[in-house]
């Protein structure tokens, strides 16, 4: 029943006063009929006979087109007589006429003016501002929930915490390890050329050690976890709110904050520093391998220099960033999940937002750390 198998609808003006309609007046056969009908010239104030004997089929689409054509002619003051139409087609045409009348009645005065650029700007600014306020509110809610949990340790749900430590922490070990190992290789390789020029090969340990421990390991871990777990949190909570599971939880007297948000935050608080340590180790290992290959610095020499150059402070500076990143990722992921409204589309949108915003905030926080540490001379 596609368009290749039907006779297309056609209109034939045998004499100025007679229009013969033929073919399939269905959605499949009417591709070209609009232009044909527009091209017809009909004498004004004439009496016209519309002959429908040769119409093979008529569906709602065809009835609609035919009826609006008839209405157009009638508006011009032309008298129309329809003849030869099958009974069921006439019935359908009557229904179409009624529907057309209803639609024109309703259409008067319901046009909304298009939005201007200024209005859009204002709306966007407003929604961004609302979102920031809502995020702050959510942070407050989390803090209250956390305080209550600390006051009543019996209410802490250990099982979801342990589950989240496994899924966000342990399961992420391979990818975090691989990427920080590669990052260590890249840093050592980039530094190798410069250091060789000054004959300062051994300082590659300073370069790799400080940059990995202070900056790269916490940052790469945070970015991987934001993409891996933050998005999962947003999608999970988003889908649950679309399917009314969150509402169900509330009516059953379970606080979604306790069951869904706090365990995730606590789990990431534990998992992220550990992952960062793991990233430190593999990043430095990657750097060591590259140093030996490019600069001829053996493992023993490298580690000797590493112990002297990199203080415990540098290590702790890196580790102390991890819990902050963890809170940012978990809070933003859960917050975006709870903001999901509507359907599948919204879940996707909020998940994207959670990743973009948490990575953005992680880097902003990292920059603030740099400012603070330079002020403190760490």
């Amino acid at each position: 029943m596609n368009s290749s198998q039907v006779t297309p609808a056609a209109v034939d003006q045998s004499t100025p006063q007679e229009l013969a309609l033929s073919g399939s007046w269905t959605v499949w056969g009417m591709g070209a009929i609009g232009a044909q009908l527009d091209a017809l010239t009909v004498p004004v104030r004439a009496e016209i006979i519309v002959n429908g004997t040769r119409i093979d089929a008529l569906d709602t689409g065809g009835a609609w087109v035919l009826q609006s054509f008839i209405d157009r002619l009638r508006d011009k003051g032309i008298k129309l007589t329809i003849s030869g139409l099958r009974l069921q087609f006439t019935k359908l045409l009557e229904v179409a006429a009624q529907a057309a009348e209803d639609q024109t009645k309703l259409q008067s005065g319901e046009l909304t003016p298009p939005t201007s650029r200024l209005e859009n700007l204002g709306r966007n600014a407003k929604s961004t501002f609302d979102q920031i306020v809502a995020l702050l509110g959510f942070v407050g809610e989390c803090a209250v929930g956390f305080a209550v949990s600390v006051a009543h340790p019996a209410r802490i749900r250990w099982r979801p915490i342990l589950y989240n430590i496994r899924s966000a922490g342990f399961d992420a070990l391979p990818i975090v390890g691989l990427l920080s190992f590669l990052l260590g290789i890249v840093v050592a390789y980039q530094g190798a050329d410069q250091l060789r020029q000054y004959g300062a090969n051994i300082f590659v340990a300073d370069l790799v050690g400080l940059s990995m421990l202070r900056e790269f390991a916490p940052l790469i871990t945070a970015i991987i976890i934001a993409g891996r777990s933050g998005s999962a949190y947003a999608a999970q909570i988003g889908t649950m709110s679309v399917t009314e599971e969150i509402d169900a939880m509330r009516t059953l007297g379970i606080v979604p904050m306790d069951l869904l948000v706090l365990p995730k935050i606590l789990a990431l608080l534990v998992a992220m520093p550990l992952l960062t340590v793991f990233a430190d180790v593999l990043g430095v290992f990657g750097g060591m391998i590259m140093s030996r290959a490019q600069l001829g610095v053996g493992f023993g020499e490298f580690l000797d220099r590493f112990v002297k150059a990199v203080s415990v402070t540098a290590y702790l500076v890196g580790i102390c960033k991890a819990p902050v990143f963890a809170v940012i990722i978990a809070v933003v992921g859960c917050f975006q999940g709870f903001r999901t409204k509507g359907g599948a589309d919204s879940v996707g949108r909020q998940t994207t937002r959670s990743v973009v915003q948490s990575i953005f905030l992680v880097i902003v926080a990292d920059a603030l750390f740099s400012v603070a540490f330079s002020a403190l001379d760490l």
């Binding site: 596609n2 959605v27 689409g61 609006s68």
Partner: protein, 278 residues
């Protein structure tokens, strides 16, 4: 719009269909015929395989054995082109609507037309508006998204979309489930109107006894993998098969039956059909 044909013509012919999910047998040698122009209802308890049978009829699931012919096309080993042509001849309304959340209601209804026909956008919008009003929706609903609609409006919008291509055959999965009595009445009337206007064949899966008594021409009761009985509700109520009796014996079954009797008595008294008791 179809040319009038004899009422005996079979539109759906299911013979010896067997379906299994692992060890669980859903249908064992099921036979069923649906004739052109009738409103046919499928009933049965939860897990009796109604929905699976519907999915098999609309090419979403293949039975393990047996044949299904819909609109004179054999569904087994159907080619992609034939499947597409067949899909354009029927409309399906899913239980939860199946409306696309990213599109407005009007775009949802216009989608099949936009996808499959060469009509221009303005015309498609007008036709979509008409279908929406046919399904009993206000024109304002057209610009809303599915998530903004109530359950009843969502069902109506889904019905409007299933009617987009003027199908010959309409499948309705639980059209009145979750609706208030007034909206459910509206759906009853709508189904009858559609059949009278377009000569549609309509297959309904339902548990709604009112819908069964008021609208269905023939009803098939599914249980234990086969059809336990087919006939009008009046005929079924006279059968003694325990699987069928379940539907008439409960308090709901009895009250729906009583209402039907009252309506018939009123029809005889006044000489014209009474409106449905609310």
């Amino acid at each position: 719009m179809q040319v009038e044909t004899s009422a005996r013509e079979t539109v759906i012919d299911i013979s010896k269909v067997t379906t299994r999910f692992g060890d669980h047998v859903v249908h064992s040698g099921l036979d069923l015929q649906v004739r052109r122009g009738e409103i046919f209802a499928l009933i049965g308890g939860s897990g009796s395989g109604k929905s699976t049978l519907l999915r098999e009829m609309i090419l979403l699931h293949q039975p393990d054995s047996g044949t299904i012919r819909v609109l004179d096309v054999e569904l087994k080993n159907i080619s992609d082109d034939d499947a597409l042509a067949l899909r354009q001849r029927w409309g399906v309304m899913f239980q939860h609507g199946g409306l696309f959340g990213a599109l407005t209601i009007k775009e949802n209804v216009g989608l099949p037309l936009r996808e499959h026909t060469g009509l221009d956008d303005a015309l498609i919008d007008q036709i979509a508006d008409w279908k929406l009003s046919m399904a009993g929706l206000e024109p304002e609903a057209g610009s809303q998204y599915p998530s903004e609609l109530s359950g009843g409006m969502m069902k109506r919008a889904a019905l409007a979309r299933s009617l987009a291509l003027d199908p010959e055959l309409l499948f309705l999965d639980e059209p009145t489930a979750g609706l208030d009595p007034e909206s459910a009445d509206g759906v009853d009337q709508l189904v009858l109107k559609l059949r009278d206007l377009f000569g549609l064949t309509i297959v309904i899966i339902t548990h709604d006894l009112d819908l069964l008594w008021q609208v269905a021409d023939r009803v098939a009761v599914l249980a234990e993998g086969t059809v336990q009985g087919v006939g009008s509700m009046a005929e079924l109520s006279a059968m003694t098969n325990p699987a069928i009796l379940k539907f008439f014996d409960g308090p709901r079954g009895r009250s729906a039956q009583k209402q039907q009797h009252q309506a018939e008595v009123e029809t005889i008294d006044t000489g014209r059909p009474s409106s449905k008791p609310k």
